[in-house]
């Protein structure tokens, strides 16, 4: 390798290609960021907002009137502690209810839930499992419609929130009992626990919610 000029010139002679490529790739990445980032942010919001209509729908029984992912009818409210709740409105501007995101430990990893509540947080109007990594074939039946041909989480719809929910391995006899998934009692129990915790906390702090701009 021929040394060109001073030592400093030698370094540049060696590394110019790397530097030029770093600049080029930097520009490419910046372009990709500008082009794609708005869509990625949109996707992240849609994941939550898209579920809001389904989760509050049951409370009012107006099945056909909600368009999915209609964000103009959802407001974001916040407690002083930074907890977020989504306030959903009907087409005529009536307040329908709340949707909150709850997180807790499942059997394998964290379980994330979206819980729909009526406007006084007395009745659960819907439950959606946002993320879970429970055992395939057993615990993962908490999400999707693989449990006895039904959606397991739909059991929560219409439950009252003043008594904590509990899971049972038998056929439920009390109003606060949820039928557990066979072979996945811990996952079922975890979901009940997460719902109880989150709804309890929400009822406590409901008064402190303020609209976030």
């Amino acid at each position: 390798m021929k040394r060109t000029g001073s030592r400093c010139g030698g370094y540049i002679g060696q590394a110019w290609l790397v530097l030029a490529m770093a600049l080029l790739f930097g520009a490419v990445l910046a372009g990709a960021h500008i082009a794609l980032q708005p869509r990625i942010d949109e996707n992240k919001l849609d994941e939550t907002y898209g579920q809001v209509p389904h989760l509050v729908r049951v409370a009012i029984g107006e099945t056909g009137r909600f368009l999915s992912a209609d964000r103009s009818r959802t407001e974001t409210w916040e407690t002083p502690g930074g907890k977020i709740a989504y306030k959903a409105f009907a087409a005529d501007g009536r307040h329908l209810g709340w949707v909150i995101k709850a997180v807790g430990d499942g059997f394998a990893d964290k379980i994330e839930l979206l819980i729909g509540l009526d406007k006084r947080a007395e009745i659960i109007t819907g439950l959606y499992v946002l993320a879970q990594k429970e055992t395939p074939g057993l615990g993962n039946k908490i999400a999707g419609r693989k449990w006895k041909g039904k959606v397991w989480a739909d059991q929560f719809t219409g439950r009252r929130t003043d008594v904590p929910l509990e899971e049972t391995k038998a056929v439920p006899t009390k109003a606060n009992q949820i039928e557990a998934i066979t072979g996945a009692t811990i996952s079922s129990n975890s979901v009940c626990g997460i719902v109880n915790n989150a709804v309890g906390e929400f009822r406590d702090k409901m008064g402190t919610l303020k609209k976030k701009d």
């Binding site: 060696q14 290609l17 790739f25 794609l36 990625i40 996707n43 074939g137």
Partner: protein
């Protein structure tokens, strides 16, 4: 430039079966095991690998005369990491569900030995067309390997293929096939099968 070694077409075909990256060279084992729980994830992964390998091979081939030997690996890594970032962002923007399912395995393409190995062995010595053909051939070989494992795992584990039901309703889904142990055992047995096939064929040609 004088062609020493196979033509672009031969390179393309070589990558698919005779030099299959997974079954023959045992490269890129990490995504092979991790994302083959269902066909959709496996094919998305293959698409991402095709994109990264093709772009990295083309760029490497274009700059092959400018490369300093000791900075070679650095340049390869920089190129691969850039294209992986682009692929990752693209998936997050247009296939959000898939991007969540694949999670860390898309960025882990950076350290996938298949790509750096092809840059080093082929693209840094060959013309653009040969490098491109090699990239596509190797990617198809990789995709076929992933598809074979994913088919076995999805059909036995969920009774479906590409999320379409193929087994009768009464099929008891073998949950173990979707779990990590199923991945190891499936790949081990398929690898044994591929070796056995290769052995019996070479025995026949020798006889």
């Amino acid at each position: 430039m004088a062609k020493d070694g196979p033509t672009p077409l031969e390179r393309f075909i070589n990558g698919i079966l005779p030099e299959n990256p997974v079954y023959r060279q045992l490269l890129g084992m990490c995504p092979t095991l991790a994302v083959t729980g269902n066909m959709k994830a496996a094919m998305t992964m293959s698409g991402a690998v095709l994109f990264v390998l093709f772009c990295a091979n083309i760029i490497t081939s274009l700059i092959r005369h400018l490369l300093k030997p000791h900075l070679r690996i650095l340049v390869f890594t920089l190129t691969i990491a850039t294209f992986v970032t682009i692929a990752d962002r693209f998936l997050a923007a247009y296939m959000y569900e898939m991007s969540k399912e694949l999670g860390p395995y898309i960025p882990l393409i950076i350290v996938n030995c298949v790509i750096i190995c092809r840059c080093e062995v082929c693209a840094s010595k060959q013309g653009v067309i040969a490098a491109g053909a090699d990239a596509i051939g190797q990617s198809i070989g990789f995709a076929l390997a992933l598809a074979s494992i994913a088919s076995v795992r999805e059909i036995l584990g969920e009774g479906s293929w590409f999320a379409m039901r193929v087994m009768p309703e009464a099929w008891p889904a073998w949950a173990i096939m979707i779990l990590p142990p199923g991945a190891f055992i499936t790949l081990g047995l398929l690898l044994g099968g591929a070796n056995w096939f290769g052995m019996s064929r070479s025995a026949k040609t020798a006889a």
